[in-house]
Symmetry: C2
């Protein structure tokens, strides 16, 4: 067996890549890029996130997201609003045009997931998801620690 085929990071990267790519084929008809889909799908549950929070959520670096939001704002999918309280922050919200663009895609996304996961027992799927969520939680906790240590 090759090194990478038993290497968690590679298995995750490849699985993520494959699953995402299949779905992304469905985005084109809706006129959305991958970045736009991710931003909108995140904002439907988190309207009003700051740019930094959103960047973290969609796994973008901050300057990349600034520019992605520039484009999405130009295309009328989202809007920047002044941050309440702290005037450095901005809140990013979905416009009605943006909402219309994701409408339908969320259910298609879940459908796509369901088709993939139909091959497995529900219990097995839950175990994997629990594992991934736990991994993320631990990793986030650990980062907090190292961040604090660097002060």
């Amino acid at each position: 067996m090759r090194f990478v085929d038993d290497y968690l990071s590679y298995l995750l990267a490849r699985a993520s890549h494959q699953v995402a790519r299949e779905f992304h084929a469905q985005l084109k008809p809706h006129g959305l890029s991958v970045a736009e889909w991710r931003v909108l799908a995140t904002l439907v549950d988190g309207d009003g996130l700051s740019l930094g929070e959103l960047a973290d959520a969609v796994l973008f670096k901050q300057p990349s997201l600034t520019k992605a939001i520039d484009r999405m704002e130009r295309d009328g999918l989202v809007k920047r609003l002044p941050g309440a309280g702290d005037r450095r922050r901005i809140r990013i919200v979905v416009t009605s045009r943006g909402a219309a663009a994701v409408r339908g895609l969320l259910s298609r996304a879940k459908l796509h997931e369901a088709r993939i996961l139909a091959a497995y027992r529900p219990e097995e799927v839950e175990n994997v998801k629990r594992f991934l969520r736990d991994l993320l939680m631990r990793s986030a906790k650990q980062e907090e620690g190292t961040a604090r240590r660097q002060l």
Copy 2:
């Protein structure tokens, strides 16, 4: 719970991103970029892969890899060799300089993985890896099918 927190594609993307990012911090001292690490780590088990095969293995689009290999060749990490038999293909091989650059990193990578997975029962880890490998296999098979259908 937010949409994305129960969405397989997102959990995979985020887990992949986090795990990879932790390790990538260790690459800088070795003077390797993420792309270079992935290429070299793949080639240690698969010296002589064609450009297309390698692009698929490292999840790059073909033109992106062509240019990445241009840079790596310029830096003396890999070399292009003429493809045996088919003269359109090229075989990409690691130079001794490239081999020296990954040496040590492979064990560090496994160590990093071990540290992350220490929190889980070996059986659980194997279940997750098996799930991922199976997912990849099915997805590849399905792609074959749709590719053939498009003819």
